[in-house]
Each structure stands twice: as C-alpha cells, then as structure tokens.
C-alpha cells in the first residue's frame, strides 16, 4: 500500500549542483576550510543535530537525502551571520532557502504556509488576511479618533491612494489587524515633519511569508503586486513601517526577479535620523528623568542583510537622542555582527517553540548583560521574539518601537498608545 505523502521522504535536491548554479561567480562551497567559525557563532547550532558547518560538509559529500529532510532548515532563520564571519563568505542560507522550497506545502510548518496563502488571496497582500475595505475603515476610524482627541492633530491625514505622494508607506498588518491604536504614532510623526505620504488600496501590506516558505514564485508575485502599486501612484520613495524582513524582501525581490521599479526603497530609520538632524523632529531625552536604560536590537534583515552599518549608525543616533547618551547601552555584539534574536525566517510562525526559545537564549543573555529596562527595535518579529524569551526566561525588560519613544519625547503620545511602556511612563 502506498504511503501517504506525510510519510514519504522529501525528494532530494542535488545541493552541490544547485549551489554551483546559485552562488555568485568565484564563490564556492568547495572552498570551505572546515574551520567552524560559522557554527561557533550560529544560535541554531546543535538544534535538530545540525549546524551550518555540518550542513555545508554534508552538501559537499552529497548527503542530499538527509539535508532535504532535516527540520533544521526551519530553525535556521536565514540571518546570514554565518556568512558574515566566514573567511570564505560562504552563505548557508541560500541552501536553506532551496531546501525549504522543496518541501511540499503540507509538510512545511503550517503557520508559514497559511500566512503566505493569505497574502496571495487578497489584493491587500496581508498575511493576516485583512482585506482592503476593512483596512480603510480601520484607518479612517483611528484617524478620526486622533483628530478628535488631540486638537494639535485636527488636520491629520492618513491618505489612501494619493497620486504622486513622495512616500509610499507599506503597513505591516499587525497594527490594523490586532492593535489599531498603534497606527497613530507613526502618522503623528509624519504630520509633525510635514511628510507627503500615502497608503495604497492594493499591495499595502508589508509582510512577506512567502519568502520564508521558500516559495520564490509566490515571493515574486507578492513583490510584483507591491511594486505595481507604488509605480501606479508614482511615489518617489517606498518605506515600510518598523519591520525588518518587509524591507529586505522588497528590495531583494526587485533585484532577484529583475522587476521594474520606478522608486527608491528607503528605511524609516534613515528618515527618523534625517528629520532629527534637520531639526524637524526636535526630540530629546528630558522625559527620561528616571534614567531608564535602553539597548537596541539590530534587525538582521535591515542591517546585516540590507543597508549595513550606515543604518546601524542611524539606529544608534536616534536611540541616543531619544533616551540620552548615558542611558543607552549597546548589546554585544551588535551592528552588522549582531546575533539574530530567533524571531526571523518564519521561526515565530513555525510552531517550533522549544527550538525557537533555545535559539533565543543567546539573545536573552545579551539583553540581560546590558541590564537594560527596555529594548528598542524597529522590527515586529524581533519585538515578538524578545518579548517571548523575556517572559520565558524571566527577564524583566520591555520591548518598544521607535515611534512610541519619538512621540513620547515630543509630548504627542496618546494615552492608548502606551501598550509597550511600563507603568512608570503611563502618565508622562
């Protein structure tokens, strides 16, 4: 009797042949020195009996069946720290992406598959299945609330489909779907600096789980829809909300699939820094009279995998301006050398909590070493993961978005926009 697909092994990929195809000219897995630096600095080492060095070695030895079937590929967050420390710049995450793609959908972690499916279902491209009509209604409702509750914002706008706006804002669906009051701080910042921006009625959602699913065709579909939306509105700069992977998946997708984009991808962090330097966002740390300590998590997808140290510098510049020079403590290591928190690559959605928390233990230790009261991070996955490991390992820190602190510092943070702040900051 034929086995069900549940029991069938996954059809093996010839990793070595594929690697030769995929790697940039001159790069080769054959050059691996077997030095182990990659595994030494990888938080997924040892999970599911695998580590990056072993993965490369097995690929070179043609152990394709084992590699095609190991669940480890779902614990590697594709953070590329291994490549960063490798003397030969060997990128394990490419092979991991390949292996993920080979798994039939029914075997892949269902959380990731469902999110990708949802994105493909509606023109909103929302992984939470939020439709555009609902999104628009939520945006209008929250905008009205802000206007009514704070007269400084009674001309606040949250435009949809504004032709020719300078910024196209991609919105992570978590806010409209789960915590709509968290939408407002960013709008207030835009209003404060007089930014010309718009949402769109299609392709407005930022997240991209199809990339994590290893489904390149779906990833392309997703990016194409969003690129078309920006092109149609003729916006100059595409910016997504504080989220790491959405940024990577868009610019990388444009590059990888050769799409025709008539705009420039930008990071919100770069603009925060620019507006502070220009005096348009006159933030300061006067509010931090208690000397609360802050550290920050560099999202791999934004820093190491995208812009690199220039954006890491901006992250710090903004953080210091917000909390005070003396109240900022860097995690070690940081910037492009940072460790992934374990929330990336779809790990949070993969249902492998035990492994994910083992992975996150290193990040937890790094946070504890700083003795910070708060961790700042402009990334939803980092945010959720660090909250979760904090709770799990009994750390007493909170995780907060940049937009919350910017508005707090400017005295424009609403009472209901303080979800991530501690009781000491509720009345400030």
């Amino acid at each position: 009797m034929p086995a069900t697909s549940e029991l069938l092994p996954i059809a093996p990929i010839d990793f070595k042949a594929k690697a030769d195809e995929l790697l940039p000219e001159g790069a080769s897995y054959d050059s691996c020195l077997n030095c182990g630096l990659c595994s030494s600095g990888c938080p997924a080492s040892g999970l599911e009996g695998m580590d990056p060095r072993r993965f490369i070695r097995m690929a070179m030895l043609g152990m394709n069946e084992e590699l095609s079937n190991t669940r480890w590929i779902w614990t590697c967050t594709q953070c590329r720290r291994c490549m960063y420390v490798c003397p030969m710049s060997i990128d394990v995450s490419v092979l991991v992406g390949l292996a993920r793609g080979q798994w039939p959908d029914e075997k892949k972690p269902q959380g990731i598959v469902r999110s990708c499916d949802a994105q493909l279902r509606f023109s909103s491209t929302s992984a939470m299945g939020l439709r555009t009509e609902d999104f628009i209604e939520i945006v209008e409702e929250i905008a009205d609330e802000v206007k009514e509750s704070d007269e400084r914002f009674n001309d606040l706008e949250a435009p949809i489909d504004k032709q020719g706006a300078y910024f196209f804002i991609n919105q992570n669906s978590r806010e409209p779907a789960v915590e709509p009051e968290e939408l407002a701080p960013l709008w207030k910042i835009f209003h404060y600096v007089g930014a010309d921006w718009t949402y769109a009625s299609k392709g407005w959602a930022a997240e991209n789980f199809c990339m994590f699913a290893g489904d390149d065709a779906a990833w392309e579909t997703m990016v194409r829809q969003r690129v078309d939306a920006v092109n149609e509105l003729g916006c100059k700069v595409w910016v997504n909300t504080e989220c790491g992977h959405s940024f990577y998946t868009l610019w990388k997708g444009i590059d990888k699939f050769g799409l025709d984009a008539h705009f420039e991808p930008g990071s919100l962090i770069t603009y925060y820094a620019q507006w502070i330097r220009e005096g348009k966002l006159p933030v300061n740390a006067d509010w931090n009279t208690m000397g609360l300590k802050f550290t920050l998590q560099d999202p791999c997808q934004l820093v190491r995998k995208s812009i690199g140290d220039p954006v890491a510098d901006d992250l710090r510049f903004v953080a210091r301006a917000l909390v005070g020079e003396d109240n900022f403590v860097d995690m070690q290591p940081c910037r492009s050398a940072n460790y992934c928190c374990g929330g990336g690559g779809g790990f949070l959605q993969a249902g492998m909590n035990e492994q994910r928390r083992a992975y996150g233990k290193r990040k937890f230790d790094q946070i504890m070493t700083t003795q910070a009261d708060y961790v700042l991070t402009p990334c939803h996955n980092c945010h959720s993961q660090m909250e979760d490991i904090g709770e799990h390992y009994d750390g007493h820190y909170r995780v907060v978005h940049y937009w919350t602190l910017i508005c707090l510092s400017l005295g424009i943070l609403g009472e209901n926009e303080r979800k991530y702040l501690g009781p000491e900051l509720m009345d400030l």
Binding site: S39, S89, S336
Partner: protein, 425 residues
C-alpha cells in the same frame, strides 16, 4: 530600481582586516589621517591572541627577540623585520598594545624578553605580549605554583588532562578537572564562543565560580580554556577571579577560538566610533590606481560601494586570506597583479623533507617593497606613489617557522603608515 552607490572620500584606504590592516588603521587614526578599511575575516580569527615578535627558527626558541633581530638583520637583510629598527618596533608594539587596551582588551607591556606562553597542547611558545587574562599562566608556570587546569564536557580542542600530562614534568603542581558548563549540560558540542558569551552574564559567572570553588582544593591558581567573555574580557576575568578567590588565567584553545573572535569583534565595534569608515566583511573587487588618487570599488549585499582615496595600504595576507593565489604553475598577487617573488617553478616550492630545518621556499614568496614599503613592479620601481603594503603578504619572511606573525604585521604596518603619512602631507 537603483540603490545609490555609497561613496566615501578618505585620505587612506586600508585593504585587509588582519593584524596588519588593523594595526595600520590604529597608527593612521593616531596621526589623524582619515581612514577607510575593507576586509573580511582572515587569519586573525584563528590566532591564539599572543603577539609574537620573533620566537625563533625551527626548533630553536628565542628568549631574547632583540638579540634574534640582530642576527636576522645579518642573515636575512631582506626580511621585513630587518627593515625596521628596534626603536621603531618598540614604538609600534607599544602604540598597538596601548590601543588594544584602550579599546577593551588589556595586553601585557612588550618587554626585553620573550614570554613563554601556554599552547592548548601543553607546550610553550615564545611571544612578546599576551592578553592580561593569560599572563598568570606564564608566571604560574615559571614559579611552579600549584595549579588546577579545567576543561568542560562537550568542549572539543581543549583537554586539561592532555595539557597536564604534557607539562607535568616541568610543572609538578598541576592537576586536571573536567566540569559541566552551567546551563549547557545536554552533552552537545560546546563552542568556546558560546561559553564566553554566556560568561558575560553575571549569574553564569556566579554558578561557574561556585563550581570552581568546590574543586579548588589547595590550588593556588586556576587555568581554563579562553572563555572569559568576548566583550571586555578583563572585566569578566576580574569578576570571576574575585568570586573564585584565587588568580585565574586563560589558555588559548584550538580554532574556532575566542581570542581571535574577540580581537575582530572589538575592532569592528570600536573603530567606527573613532571615526574610521569600516566596510566589514567585504573584499575590494577593483582598484583603479591614478596619479592623483585611487578609486576602490566593491559590492556588498545592498549594492555598490566606492572609496576615493589618496593613499592605499595593501594588507591582504597570504593564501588563507586571499592576498596571494596559487594555481598549478605559479603564485600571483590577487588584487593588482603585483609581481610575486617566488621559486622558478612549482617543483621548487617545497623541499623534499617536510621537516627540513630551512623551511620551504613557497612560504617566503610574496611581494617586494622599497624602503618606504611601496610595492615594486618587475623592474623594481614603485607601482604608484600612493600605494603601500604591509603584513605577511611581503616576501622574504616565514612567519610560521620564525614565529613572527604579529611582529611582521605590526612593524611593517608602522613603517608603511609613517611613509604614507609623509606622502599625504
């Protein structure tokens, strides 16, 4: 879509982030020269952390490196170290070790004699300066102090028993003990880096100190693999030592080991704060040498990076780091095609006897420089007025046999930066 190329303008671009590149950057920043540096992980990641000046030749180990240098200048006048005076070497080492201390890793003051420092296998090697976290191992051995050596379940490449049995003859007061590292008791392979990062957390230190105190017996000090933190190791060391109550010291482990990771990470984290433009973990793809200045280009994951500079310092290392490339017939310099002094053909690379005390000619292959450390073309003329070179890329040295890796890197970087600073002004 186009991401804009990132363009930097500097006085100096250092190509390479090994010891030579880092030392050059330290010296250049010290002189107020605006500097950019590009390079990915090289040999530095595998180092013991010891800074060797000149340890000897083959089997013969040098107690006095300065005497050795005198001899070297006589026997090997073209050796890079022969082209730097004692005074300059002293200045280079003291500037460099002081900079390391300022950045976060204390080193012992380079002195008159070589220190005989412990290796993971339980031998000793002559070196000029060691991290402060390791110096007690040298003094304890010299005084024969009763010493407990620890290792850990799951940690490969470091065995306390092996070390003790190799050293016991000359150091009878040694004992060995294996511990389980706190919080890592699953039996899975442990990496020193992971343990080191864990020891940055106070509660882990407390647990480990408790275990060590339990095993201490009458030991006067305790040696263990180099795992006392990656960031600010001296603070981790001092705190652990305070908790245990006797002097502690680290012994380097086999790669992937902490001392190299520590150095690399420290440079990466502190240089940008000192104003250096660091393009980490990338290689320069193209160098366009000009009369008035040079343009370096490379591509990282986000797009093109361009560095426009007046002077260039090439410190790209040898085969392991990619500075030299060997094919079936010959050796070439990878980036600019600078002529490489080398045996006439491949048959001349190695001597018949692998252990020949003269070493192998291939290890002395490298590029030629003039007295200002400018690389020379085939006719012996500097390739460009603004191009300088340093480190083990240079010909006429065999750093491994002569135990002079850091020496060549630091001394030649010093000379090259002196020269290029003259050129820039």
């Amino acid at each position: 879509m186009t991401t804009k190329p990132r363009v930097y303008q500097t006085q100096l671009a250092v190509i390479g982030s090994g010891l030579a590149g880092f030392a050059a950057a330290v010296f250049a920043l010290d002189k107020g020269i605006s500097t950019a540096q590009v390079g990915n992980t090289g040999a530095i990641a595998y180092t013991t952390g010891y800074l060797d000046l000149l340890g000897g030749c083959g089997e013969q180990l040098l107690e006095d490196p300065w005497e050795g240098l005198k001899q070297l200048r006589n026997d090997e006048p073209r050796h890079p170290l022969s082209r730097v005076s004692d005074g300059e070497i002293q200045e280079a080492f003291s500037l460099f070790t002081r900079a390391l201390s300022d950045m976060g890793i204390n080193y012992t003051k380079p002195g008159e004699r070589n220190l005989f420092a412990l290796s993971p296998a339980g031998t000793t090697k002559p070196t000029l300066s060691v991290p402060e976290t390791m110096i007690t191992g040298v003094t304890a051995k010299d005084s024969g102090a009763r010493t407990l050596i620890l290792d850990f379940v799951g940690l490969k490449g470091f065995s306390a028993l092996e070390l003790v049995s190799n050293l016991r003859k000359s150091w009878p007061g040694l004992t060995a003990k294996r511990l389980e590292f706190p919080g890592m008791t699953t039996g899975a392979q442990l990496y020193p880096e992971v343990m080191a990062r864990a020891l940055e957390v106070e509660s882990t230190r407390r647990q480990l100190a408790e275990m060590i105190r339990h095993e201490l017996g009458d030991a006067e000090c305790v040696g263990m693999p180099a795992i006392m933190g990656i960031h600010l190791p001296d603070r981790v060391h001092a705190d652990l030592q305070r908790m245990v109550g006797v002097p502690l010291f680290e012994i380097p482990t086999m790669p992937p080991a902490v001392p190299g990771i520590r150095l690399r990470e420290m440079f990466e984290q502190t240089f940008p704060a000192l104003g250096l433009i660091l393009v980490p973990q990338q290689k320069v793809k193209n160098v366009d040498l000009g009369e008035a200045g040079t343009v370096l280009s490379l591509k990282d994951s986000y797009g093109d990076v361009v560095i426009e500079t007046r002077a260039v310092l090439l410190a790209t290392g040898r085969f392991l780091s990619g500075g030299l490339h060997a094919d079936r017939f010959s050796i070439r310099e990878s980036l600019l095609g600078i002529p490489v002094t080398q045996p006439e053909d491949r048959a001349g690379w190695y001597r018949k006897d692998y252990f020949d005390h003269r070493g192998h000619p291939v290890n002395r292959a490298g590029i030629e420089v003039d007295e200002l450390f400018r690389p020379l073309d085939a006719s012996g003329v500097p390739i460009n007025e603004g191009l300088f070179a340093a480190g083990i890329l240079l010909a006429h040295q065999d750093w491994m046999r002569q135990r002079c890796g850091a020496g060549v890197a630091i001394a030649s970087a010093y000379k090259a930066v002196e020269a290029l600073s003259g050129y820039l002004s």
